[in-house]
Amino acid sequence: MLRLFTLCLAALMALVLPASAKDKLTIYTYDSFISDWGPGPKIKTAFEATCNCELEWVAVADAVATLNRIKLEGSGSKADILLGIDTSLTAEASATGLFEEHGIKTENVNLPVQWTDNTFVPYDYGHFAVIYDSEKIKTPPASLDDLVNGDPEQKIVIQDPRTSSPGLGLLLWIKAVYGDKAGEAWTKLSRRVLTVTPGWSEAYGMFTKGEAPMVLSYTTSPAYHMVAESTDRYRAASFPEGHYMQIEVAGILKSSQNKELARQFLAFMTGPGFQNHIPTNNWMWPAGKTSDALPDAFDKLVKPAKSLLLSADEVNANRKAWIDEWLKATTR
């Protein structure tokens, strides 16, 4: 038994032995970004062709986890860049004092809203949306208010704002539209909520299995089904009140030893070498300059007439209170 164990341990070490070191840029991000089918590997190749350096991706489970990793490591972090947190976390990230101003030109940045943050640079964005199964629902909710007040027998699966980014997105969306009346809106909406899942995967899995005809996801979700599965069965409902935005960003750490290289990467990030890989690998809208045309599927997506976004500081200051309000309203 002991011999087997020693053997296995040796094999385990061999599997994860670090690659030989070279002048390199280390970027922390969430794991789906650098999966084989994500944009990470392609971006690595593209950037390394321009920089004569090595790009090392370090993946932590999800966006929140990457920021926590930075907090746990403090100023001793080996990360040069953190890539993947969204605007609901940027104020919290800035408050750690671990990030420094990016200091690059952002003329390539292209967003539906004005970008003023001097610490973080956006690389993609998406709008939250209710995705519905067109084979089960003939008349989808025509507005957020319609969703809140609609037939309780027609169910939606949402995510928990305490554990998931889209869940927090819906919380902020309802806050942005209903303001002080958000609690009442949640009480009404909760009649239609089949269940609240800890993450996006559970909710979307239940939706595609047919357990509920609606799910909270992104306006870009139908693009995946059109491109990869050639079906337009799953569609986004367009809401005239506007759709809440998620903007994903990257920032440089104060403790970085490679700041010049890091700035070079952020500048590269806003251009085609990076941006071309975003639409069909990360399934989000590019937030910079692309050289390839977007796939046709993206033309067919819902384009919100209005983008909603609460300021990062406001979110950071009120998140706990708003989550409590949600808890009270939905457990009544």
Binding site: L15, D36, A59, A61, N68, T163, T197, L327
Partner: protein, 540 residues
């Protein structure tokens, strides 16, 4: 001679102490590390304490009910399976019982929804008869269905293992005395069941306390919030490590308290090991019809969600999956991790039990010896209720400060997995080891057999079956584990369940279903392998 023996601990006791110490270290280190990095202790408002009180009540309620139902359902199923030793497909059924452990909760939850959900098979069938509308399981019902699915299988498998330890002499006696089924239960089966039941129930209770995805998804909403959810939230989203540690300590204390209560009800091990061949039970004919019914019912309940998982997996593009190099890397990592963790877990379990056996051999164990023994029994279990997020974050802090974060991570993952499998291994091995000791201790003493020689000649052949089962459970648990593996996530350290989750998280649910099926297949393969080892040692 006598005095020197009491003063100087034997090697077996030392090994046990080392195992005990490493468990304490593995659990306490991360918790202390997380408290150490906090600038201040958390302030706990009256509101927050009220919230904690209400979720604690819900946590105990759902875990208590889940345990009760799982164990109550497992007893008749285990009796039927133990009685019908030549039931068609019994071997496969027994292997299937260990399988739910190996499947990530997310996969099982989707399987259960496919069977019991609003649009599920049962719902559709019921609606077809026109009797009811769609089922709505979201709430306590859903949580209980899923927990009974996971744990009835586990409890039944452990009970069968215990019942199979009943020596053939007892059955010969029962046949001579023309025992009825009721007599058999009262005089032969119940003493055995009663001796292992507290251990099994406490294991199930802890698994239900620590359950996370099942509770949130099937609980239907924030009403079903458990301590585990609050710990996850306070560490992950609020980044309040000391609060997370406090909540984790509360969860630990809760379980430890219940164990102390449960410990009072525990009886001595009633199992006697026998070298003899498996007995053909005299009562196997009389109850055949009833047993068939019970097995069929239990099997249906367990097999339906598994069938759902298989059906959604078989249509997966397997050629695409196996053509990706990441799949093979994940498979290799998972298999190596499972084998490492299982062997380490068994080594630790054996150290603890051998130490216990040595201590018990004394006529009147001292107070210190008794304390050591109860400490050991509890220690082997409590790691299950320390949330993986706490262990992971805490160990990360320690490793990062010492600059070992990358190289040591896989080792820590293997150790944490081994520790998580330890409660299973202990519960499987303990009855066999203790029973075996009662039979063979004098023989070994008179032959002068000890140490490795005794292990090779006496212990191993007799305990091979229990070792194989413990190994299978430990391997299944670690091949399916996400908690520990997700802690140190990096591009180079991908396990099969992690890959599955990544696929689920990027719309590739069809590929994920295929991977789930392969994962189940590899797990069955490991269980089969463990059984082969058993056969080999027994034939020697």
């Amino acid at each position: 001679m006598q005095t020197s023996r009491t003063l100087r601990p034997k090697p077996a006791v030392l090994a046990g102490l080392v195992a005990l110490g490493s468990i304490g270290l593995a659990v306490a280190t991360p918790m202390l590390a997380l408290i150490a990095i906090a600038p201040a202790m958390p302030t706990l408002s009256a509101d927050y304490l009220g919230f904690v009180w209400s979720i604690t009540k819900f946590t105990v309620l759902q875990a208590g009910l889940s345990t009760l139902l799982s164990v109550l359902a497992a007893i008749p199923l285990a009796r039927a399976l133990a009685r019908q030793a030549s039931f068609p497909g019994r071997h496969i059924i027994l292997r299937l019982l260990a399988l739910p452990l190996a499947l990530p909760a997310l996969v099982v939850v989707l399987g259960i929804i496919e069977v019991w959900g609003r649009q599920g098979w049962v719902s559709t069938a019921l609606q077809g008869t026109g009797l009811t509308g769609p089922l709505n399981i979201y709430g306590l019902t859903g949580i209980l269905i899923a927990h009974v699915f996971f744990n009835m299988a586990l409890a039944a498998r452990l009970l069968v293992a215990a019942l199979e330890q009943i020596p053939p002499e007892n059955w010969r006696l029962a046949a001579q005395l023309s025992f009825t089924s009721r007599h058999v239960f009262r005089h032969i089966e119940w003493p055995v069941i009663r001796s292992v039941l507290p251990g099994i129930a406490s294991l199930v209770f802890m698994l239900c306390i620590a359950s996370f995805a099942v509770v949130l998804v099937l609980g239907g909403g924030p009403k079903a919030t458990t301590l585990e959810v609050a710990i996850y939230q306070s560490l992950r989203f609020d980044f309040d490590p000391p609060r997370a540690v406090l909540l984790a300590a509360l969860q630990l204390a809760l379980c430890a308290g219940l164990f102390v209560l449960g410990g009072r009800m525990a009886t001595d091990i009633a199992v006697m090991s026998s070298v003899g061949k498996q007995a053909r039970r005299p009562d196997r004919f009389a109850s055949r019809r009833m047993d068939t019914l019970v097995i069929a019912a239990g099997l249906t309940f367990i097999a339906l969600p598994m069938l759902a998982i298989v059906l959604s997996g078989v249509t997966a593009p397997f050629t695409v999956i196996v053509s990706q190099s990441v799949f093979w890397r994940a498979l290799a990592t998972s298999l190596v991790l499972a084998l490492t963790a299982a062997s380490l877990s068994l080594t630790m379990a054996w150290s603890l039990l051998a130490a216990q056996r040595t201590v018990m051999r004394r006529r009147a164990p001292s107070r210190a010896a008794s304390a050591f023994m109860s400490c050991m029994q509890a220690s082997g279990s409590l790691i299950l209720v320390v949330p993986p997020v706490v262990i992971g974050a805490g160990w990360f802090v320690v490793l990062h400060r010492t600059g070992l974060a990358n190289s040591a991570a896989p080792v820590i993952v293997a150790i944490v997995n081994a520790l998580m499998a330890l409660p299973f291994a202990l519960r499987i091995l303990r009855p066999a080891v203790v029973g075996q000791a009662q039979v063979h201790d004098r023989l070994c003493a008179s032959l002068g057999l000890s140490g490795l020689q005794r292990w090779r000649l006496i212990d191993l052949p007799v305990l091979a079956r229990s070792f194989a089962l413990a190994f299978a459970f430990a391997a299944a648990l670690s091949i399916g584990d996400l908690g520990a593996a997700a802690l140190f996530g990096s591009a180079d350290f991908v396990t099969l369940p992690l890959l599955l989750l990544q696929k689920m998280g990027s719309y590739r649910s069809v590929e994920a279903a295929g991977i789930a099926l392969l994962l189940a297949g590899f797990c069955l393969g490991l269980i089969w392998l463990a059984e082969q080892l058993k056969v080999e040692t027994q034939s020697q």
